[in-house]
Amino acid sequence: MSWSHVDWRASVGLVGRVLKYLSAVLLVPFGVALFYGEDVPTFAAAFAVTVAIGIGLERVDPDPDLGSREGFLMVALTWLVVALVGTIPYLLAGFFGTESTLAQPVNALFESMSGFTTTGATVMGEISLDRHSHAILLWRQLTQWLGGMGIVVLAVAILPELSVGGAQLMDAEAPGPGIQKLTPRIAETARVLWLAYLGFTLLEMVLLYGLHLVGLAPNMDLFNAVSHPLTTMPTGGFSPEARSIEAFSAAVQWVIIPFMIAAGTNFALFWHVLNGEPERLFRDTEFRSYAGVIGVLTAVIAGLLFTGIGISANPSAVPPIIGAFEDSVRHAAFNVVSIVTTTGYANMDFNTWGAPAKYLLLFAMFIGGSAGSTGGAIKIVRWVVIVKSLRRELFTTVHPEAVSPVRLGGRVIDERAIRGIYAFTLLYLVFFFVATVLVVTDAWRVGYQVTAFESMSAVAATLGNVGPGFGVVGPMNSYLGFPATSKLLMTFLMWIGRLEILPVLVLLTPAYWRT
């Protein structure tokens, strides 16, 4: 089976089936559209078209039989097709006359890919309910929620025909090196993950709306209280508010922080906690490193903000932070957590920060959340292994005769896995540099004014599925100004970033298609 031709029909057929079931989600914004009486034809048509495409693709191979190579193709295609289909509501809404920037196909694709990959980079010119319907803004949030725990994981959870090869599919999609099987049956593991995810999302909705009811969050109405958890838990970062979380009270910001942290944690650990082994969370090397990174970065940036060293712009133009303890800590913690977990919310425009604080955030974009979380970028566990492996190398350089395996949480890591981690990290950095040069060159070609730093941050934020960068792509700005070619490149970066490069790259090798 694995040495024959790639059976692309099987992959396409399965993508069609996933899409068919996924279209049911469009009924949610359709309901909202009916409730508010806006954009009803948009979502009715979008639902019909999506179902039709799903059924059409399914016809290509009604009884798909997936091998390992077809699995790669299926996972990569799923994300591409879902992002393409996700543009339909944006395009139709534009067609019916909102005059939004999303009516442009390239912009719509960018926004849709940014949604499903939980990036959170936007090309909306104006984020407001004056221009966009509730239903469209909710659809943006929903795309992130669907992408967060993984579309393929969801498919494995609900489609019985995927229970056999599901582990390999989930492995290709899941963030981080390798997946942990929590239960003997992979479909059950997938269900557990999605249920935990759903549970956190509902809990956050209740808390946020509760704050509104007790008067601690005046503008956190029901629409906002539903919308924000949908993009917190997938570490997505879209917000229906143009000023992101800055629009809400300090209490709301403090509530969102722990949920972002949870979203960047390996969900398998929550399973252990629920099974009565909470100590496994705190014993976990990756979780401890993750907490350490967040703690140190928060402390340093809070210090910079408190003393005023960290504010570069005219201090009177930014909220009063200097010398205010709670403000400094909250703004530092919120933005650090938002960037490390690759969420991409902001509770202030961190463009106003000075060089040291901004660079710490840029570095944080490369760290990423934990493996098995909804976070993006390189992932904490890879950095932990790299540091341990480097120390091992220095040791064996001095003692060439010594044999010292690299251990993680007491378990010896396979040398092949270590090499794989190095390869991924280097490949990630190479993609980052090359894409930066392409973006700079493209901007120069059309005469768009963008600095090297802004381009770097835009590439890091899209490849790492973070969302906002600095300067023109800052948290209160958008990616709208880039030429269409750059936007397409970034769309590609978000796609390969979410799938961790390899599943997409193998499709481009001749060996993949040869018999």
Binding site: F72, S389, T397, L429
Partner: protein, 495 residues
């Protein structure tokens, strides 16, 4: 095996190195006399370096293990840089009178970087300007001995690959002993330098290089073959005729080629060079970089004949071989061309040459390992060793290469941020691209960068703290990181 690091042996070997410095210092003192300049800056450090060297050398010498070798390498570069800065301070002209500037210039010299703090060249005496070139030439010689004689035997960061690539199971096979190998490669190095001097003077004789006098011919030959890049001319090689520039291009390429392969070539065996996968990879990279730069220049201003091509080739070769000469202010080039040069700083020349940076050999292995990973992702059952010029590479070596490359990039990133933050502290206006360029150019030992540190600029205006950090990182980068990093591990000092 020695129980703990043998400091006496290390100190004794270091003494030999210090004593050896008497020769170049003596020669320069004579040169200064010849030009009617004061020989004091060179004569003064001569005495203590001989006395100190002699004293250290007398210490008891035991076996040299890996730890002693690492310590020696780290200390040798550091102490030579310190001694090398003394003439600059004693001469006391221009910016070099400041000890930090002097040390920067000296470290930049001995590490064959070529980053300078000098903007006004005319205030310095000819002997001082020549001393910069001599330091670079010594640095190049040192690295040949180090890379071939030591690092390749200590399995450091994939440097052992060179043995695979040169198709000698052990470099010592070239001649029975390391010292012999080092002498052969050193001889080749001296020969190439002498050849370049003759060629440059020959061009002058036939009238194709009017301003290439004996002084310039020697000074440039010393820094070309060592792929180092100091020039006594403010306009660098741009001061000379196109014929000179083409000759320099050729010798930069030669200087960045594996000297073991060159040795075989010189002895009538070109097949090894032809069969080297790395050599082909290296030439292919140079060609494509030049092509991209020509395209970028053509897009911006149109091709003005052979001049554009020559400038593109010269700058690409100069940066990719980590030399750092310039014939034109490439800081004014369009973004694509400048970014190609910035990325080129990370490439470097071949292993076993005088170049710095990450080197084409490591990138070749990384590229092959990537391809293998993609293949085994589809065929998990397949077992595929990675081959270089037909020979399989050890998996541990591949990991070492990955580690080295990644650590380089991470150090570069941290240095960049330090440069930016430090500049912001003192209010020096510095763009991110300029900071990245300066960080890469010093840590990877290239020389010039962009903006204020551009080919016709200088590093003088950076704050003192930045210059000190750059000095340390030029040192760390030149000796391939690991010999310094291990000094900071407890295992190194414990028995």
């Amino acid at each position: 095996m020695a129980v703990r690091v043998d400091l006496r042996t290390t100190a004794s070997l270091l003494g030999t190195v210090l004593k050896g410095l008497a020769w170049p210092l003596g020669v320069l003192a004579l040169v200064a006399l010849g030009y009617g300049e004061s020989p004091v800056p060179f004569a003064a450090p001569l005495v203590p370096s001989v006395v100190l060297g002699e004293g250290l050398e007398r210490l008891e010498r035991g076996d040299t293990g890996p730890r002693e070798a690492f310590l020696l390498v780290a200390l040798a570069w550091l102490s030579v840089a310190l001694v090398g800065s003394i003439p600059f301070v004693l001469a006391g002209t221009g910016v070099l009178a400041h000890p930090v500037n002097a040390l920067f210039e000296s470290m930049s010299g001995i590490t064959t970087t070529g980053a300078t703090v000098i903007l006004a060249f005319e205030v310095h005496s000819r002997s001082i300007l020549l001393w910069r070139s001599v330091l670079q030439w010594l640095g190049g010689l040192g690295i040949l001995v180090l890379a071939v004689g030591l690092l390749s035997r200590l399995s450091v960061s994939g440097a052992q690959l060179m043995e695979t690539e040169t198709q000698t199971r052990n470099v010592t096979k070239l001649t029975p002993r390391i010292a012999g190998t080092a002498r052969l490669l050193g001889g080749l190095y001296v020969g190439l330098t002498a050849l370049l001097v003759l060629v440059l003077l020959g061009l002058r004789v036939v009238g194709m290089a009017p301003n290439m006098g004996p002084y310039n011919a020697v000074a440039h030959a010393l820094t070309t073959v060592s792929t180092a890049g100091f020039s006594p001319e403010p306009a660098s090689v741009g001061a000379f005729s196109p014929a000179v520039q083409w000759v320099v291009i050729l010798f930069m390429i030669v200087g960045a080629t594996n000297f073991v392969l060159l040795y075989y070539l010189a002895h009538g065996d070109p097949s090894r060079l032809r069969e080297s996968e790395e050599f082909r990879f290296y030439l292919a990279i140079l060609a494509s970089a030049t092509g991209l730069i020509v395209a970028a220049l053509a897009f911006e201003e149109g091709v003005s004949g052979l001049d554009t091509v020559r400038h593109a080739v010269f700058q690409a070769v100069s940066i990719f071989t980590t030399t750092g000469y310039a014939t034109v202010d490439f800081d004014a080039w369009p973004p694509l061309a400048r970014h190609v040069l910035l990325i080129g700083m990370f490439v470097g020349g071949m292993a076993g040459s005088t170049t710095c940076s990450i080197k084409t050999l490591r990138w070749l292995v990384v590229a092959k390992a990537f391809r293998r990973d993609l293949f085994t992702a589809i065929h998990p059952e397949a077992i595929r060793p990675i081959r270089l010029s037909g020979r399989p590479i050890d998996e541990g070596t591949i990991r070492d290469v990955y580690t080295y490359t990644l650590v380089s990039v991470v150090i570069f990133a941290f240095l960049t941020v330090f440069v930016i933050v430090d500049a912001a502290r003192v209010g020096l206006a510095l763009g991110e691209f300029e900071a990245m360029g300066a960080a890469a150019s010093t840590f990877l030992n290239i020389g010039p960068a962009f903006g204020i540190a551009g080919p016709y600029g200088s590093y003088e205006s950076f704050p003192v703290s930045t210059k000190l950090v750059m000095i340390v990182l030029m040192w760390v980068g030149r000796i391939e990181i690991v010999p310094v990093l291990v000094l900071f591990t407890a295992a190194f000092w414990r028995s």
